[in-house]
Symmetry: D2
Subunit: 400 residues, 4 copies
């Protein structure tokens, strides 16, 4: 059980690109990184595309004014001069800038933590992966929901055969906040998401369902997709070619089948992620709107509801526990769990501790690339009349 004591020798010197006052995501990064003050310390930032607003904001967060930079290039350059300069940077900017900022950060000798979807193409992902390896740096991806520890309980139970052979995978992440065109026009955090130049080749597939897809991989690391089919729609026509609703069907190599629904036009839905894994003996179901409950449904037995933090849970699940049973954890705790693992990974990388790196389960660059590849295949299917496509491990696009 976590209680805030240090997991690494000293907190890492951390900065942010983006994540300023107008968006919502930056605060999640800070809550995640700074939870215990023993993993990261916020020392610098280029928080905003508007440098003045960014500086004001950074100072208000307690960052020294001299280290609130006007842009990431300056930050990387000036911090590199300092003895106590940045060690790791989080990128919380619109998708279209992830690649170039990540590349610049790695080249400046920084570890990187980046928002999802990581880049536009898996080729970019492979290029960055090679660069990170060359530089000896970590690239983590903020699949923040994946820090909910009951997902690790699902992983453990599946590994232990508690549901038998996996047959059906049912994934959903939908909301209805974009049911009308209003948000596209008036909400800065939404505008760029429907612009392919900035958002990339997808809207909700990349914005929402890459989370859910990664969570499914976290839970079922051994399941490989054989082929998939994606049917996507732009119910608000101005969003085309980007989709505001999509269905994906998947065939896995072991004979299992899967479905995913992602949407920003599921009017009135306030449920978030839903994940159900059906096995030959039992099913597991978890919803992030009730993050402390996991349903375990053995065919022919009473339905079981497992409760977060209880001693009967697997130790890999309870290792991330912070508050104890009856005390609700939420998304801020999930982000804290992920960021703590980033810190442990970076520290291990710095120390050359391959054993820790090997055993640590967290969203690394491979998870980021896998997410892009899944999107590429979805788009390929959708553009091919929503036909089945073999799930390709090859990059579909080409790197810049």
């Amino acid at each position: 059980m976590l209680n805030g004591e240090k997991k690494i020798a000293r907190p890492l010197r951390w900065g942010m690109v983006g994540g300023g006052r107008l968006g919502q995501v930056g605060y999640k990064h800070r809550i995640g990184a700074l939870r215990d003050n023993t993993a990261f310390t916020l020392v610098a930032g280029a928080f905003d595309i508007d440098p003045e607003r960014g500086k004001d904001f950074g100072v208000n967060l307690g960052v020294d004014e001299s280290r609130c930079y006007e842009n990431y290039q300056t930050m990387f350059a000036q911090e590199a001069e300092k003895e106590d300069g940045l060690e790791v940077v989080s990128i919380a900017t619109p998708n279209g800038t992830h690649y170039e900022i990540t590349k610049a950060a790695l080249e400046a000798g920084l570890h990187v933590i980046c928002e999802k979807p990581l880049f536009f193409t898996s080729a970019e992902g492979e290029e960055i992966k090679a660069l990170a390896e060359e530089k000896g740096k970590i690239v983590g991806v903020t699949y923040g929901f994946s820090g909910n520890q009951l997902l690790l309980q699902m992983r453990a139970m599946i590994e232990q055969g508690k549901i038998g052979d996996i047959r059906v995978v049912e994934l959903q992440y939908t909301h209805g906040f974009s049911s009308t065109e209003d948000a596209d026009k008036f909400n800065d955090a939404q505008k760029w998401r429907v612009d392919p130049k900035i958002a990339g080749p997808t809207f909700v597939l990349g914005d929402l369902s890459t989370h859910t897809y990664y969570m499914s991989k976290l839970i079922m690391p051994d399941m490989k997709i054989e082929k998939l089919l994606c049917d996507r729609q732009s119910f608000i026509s101005s969003r085309a070619p980007l989709e505001d609703n999509a269905f994906v069907m998947m065939h896995y190599e072991n004979g299992a089948v899967g479905r995913l629904w992602t949407s920003s036009v599921n009017a009135g839905c306030m449920d978030g992620h839903r994940i159900r894994i059906v096995g030959s003996k039992a099913s597991l179901e978890w919803w992030d709107s009730k993050p402390s409950e996991l349903r375990y449904e053995v065919q022919g037995e009473p339905v079981q509801t497992l409760i977060r933090a209880m001693p009967y849970l697997d130790e890999q699940c309870n290792a991330d526990e912070r508050l104890g049973a009856l005390h609700m954890e939420g998304l801020s705790d999930a982000w804290s769990n992920i960021y703590l693992k980033f810190a442990v990974a970076i520290d291990a990388k710095n120390r050359g501790d391959e054993e820790t790196l090997h055993s640590l389960v967290y969203p690394d660059i491979d998870a980021g690339i896998d997410g892009i590849r899944w999107l590429e295949n979805c788009v390929r299917s959708a553009e091919n009349g929503s036909a089945w496509v073999d799930f390709s491990d090859q990059p579909v696009g080409s790197a810049k």
Copy 2:
């Protein structure tokens, strides 16, 4: 609000083919038909393939021994001789016999109420429809779940524009009772369902999801399918070619999309039907495991839960109310609602009352044929590599 008072001049003389002691469905028919003793009276039956057991059973139900017949042929022949002979017969036998028994019943001058899926082919359906018209008889289909009155509330709200334009249709009817092969071997009510000669070209698609499909049509009578794709699996391989799990995707003519999941291998699932209709403004969601609750989710407003029997519901919904608010209704009430409508339809047909027939909403032969046609298209897609197929209104198979 219903209270058992007669809706037709006198109860109809009713009999059953099948529905004997070993199966579970016959009792649902009797509960449905006999609820108030003012719509139907059970006067005869050929309840069982084992004539002795059938006779013993019928007598135990209170049927006169002389009218417990060894088979339906004898029943139809001998009852036709009586002045107070059968007027209507319900068919609760395995699928493969529905066509011939229905045909014989119509030819014997009887109205027919038949289990789903109605027949194997839509061509058979069209032939029987023509025969029923010629004979001036009703053919009803026991989509028993469709008697849950909150479905009529959904229908009314959609018609009144309460959710805006329909965008997404999400249908599910799954359970896990066939997760292993055991039931196929040891349970008489299950054995024939996995034998294509008796069950027809589908297992769960016909056995489970024709219910859900009909319910979607009841709720959204104006929605037409343009094309669909069906992906089906036989997780218990001995069931092949019949499926124990299937996913269907649908495109509707108005641009809406839909999904359906049906399964008998959804291990541990005890939920029954789930129906969600997403509109441009709001969604409606109903689960038959909570049949007295309807969720109405207007984007941007508090989630509403509408409760069965409350005065704020539409009058077409409350017209079928029996018990009053706070008093749970269930499947037996739903069947009663359907059977009462069959009685009203038969009475209207007998009286030549076309106005009543025209306005009455109940699962008639067109609903039965539509269900077969949907199955035909599902099978066509599945056999074509789970590819998209245009939804054909033409019979796919040919009549015997």
Copy 3:
């Protein structure tokens, strides 16, 4: 599992006093009694205080016009003359008439099934009990909710020690339909309930919570109340001295404690009965708004939800099953279960089958008297400044 086959040699000839067109409760009796047509046949009735309306109503139910009587006195007298006259009568009239009608029925040689609360005083109850014994007749009480079969599962699990020693009993039956004075003025079914001359010494305690109290006795037959305290309110002051809200606290002889809340001013509550029994090892919780689910919460283990009709349930629970798992049962099924037991009891009484009578669990006259006595003690406490009173087994009032 029940399927409608006869449990007794032939259906009993049954009639009703009250239960006419304007009230809601009569239909529940008829649904309950007539479910399978093998337990009761409706042959006569004095359905309404307005004889014409009552006759019209009875004919509409299919009762022979000559046996639709203008009042119960005439019915009892004339039916007694017939060879195929009434054998049993149900009384569904306002509380204040139960005693005299029951007495008249017994004296006319009829078995009686009566609405709750049975009478005004336990002394009346004892007198009627003696009369029934003298006449060799059954008096049953329609605690209709008690037919929900998961209550028998609770009884079995408690008897088997599955929750350990009982410590806390938590009972609730509340709604909000009388939050304003409107219903008192405009609703015939409500008006008399707030008039002590007709309703007796209580409103919601008798009208609502005698159900819940009986259900608690059904579940925990061995628990005896030692003392209780009742605090009651008339939030609509015109209802005083009758209460529209009451809290009861109970101490049981084994050291357990209990609470009950009953209310008709719990605004917006649509939940019905809630029963939770806390033991030293585990708790059981059942709500009649989800009648097919029973929560079994073992301290330190995953929460279990037991589902109606599943094979893992106790046989005394599943003996009352009608529809099978995944098929919702509701209040009409519960009433059917109770009425079937009344029929079995009456038949056993007629045959002198004491063994059946001894083992059959159903709401008999002792249950009715116990309910009155509980009310008497509640009123005694309330009128004594809501002080603790020893639970007296002695009649508090005196018989007329």
Copy 4:
């Protein structure tokens, strides 16, 4: 909406007494205080009764070794010498030490944040209140659950008349973790809670239900208790005279009635707080196991579920919002909200800003004293045969 930007000029220098490695509550304080690094900075601590373990722990939290003290006396003395010494201290020790540590801290010139129940007697509370006033310091009480912002929504809706006049208050905070005696023997965090010398005159009443009681006051600031009755039990007899289960009944001055159930022997219960406020028009219900949902049940209308962070909520509710809709907040967010208000209060006190102090809603010393007084009255009733007692505003015990 909060995003981590500073609310006060600079973070307060903060320390802890208690809250070390073996307990669970200290981490909640740190999560609460340090969320944004703009309200508090952890600079010192006497974390543990075992000085070595406390020092090791403090260093592991990042506190300078020289400021990890062996006891609070030393800490207060030495910090007072420093120019950048402590400004505020949180007390997370067993109940019996709160009074003396609070007194010492105030005398050392520190603001105080203290665990509940604040002290053993209200006389102590009044004495400390006077001392705090004299010293110009704040004493806050960590009713951590009260930071759930939907409680402020309830407060706003009640104030705005959205439920009408309050009639019934239903409070519950129960769990089953002490169903057996094991925890008393083997769990350090539990042992002292059943020892009256350390825990004070109550176990679960003080440990659990003072939270719920305060939450009810937060929601309904205008409701005054007129009299109450408390019935308490020690199901594990070794706990006597301290209770492991208690029922409280309350009469309010406006004619409303209330109930509270608190228990640590509610076997299997994993629900936490439940609060329902019934008004003459509608009810509000909130459970901390679903902290992002608030049920608003208007009699005669569909049940509404209000979702945290939605724009339709009151601004005083959304002012505390951190993550945005669909993103679950939990107990750590609630503690952060409370601690942020402590910081604002302390800063206002330091600046002499009475206006801020007057309008800020947070658990201050009056809330702490009110909680003790409620406990005193509960104990007085319980010891008087669970009789009704007038709710006294006078201290019952006497200060040391």
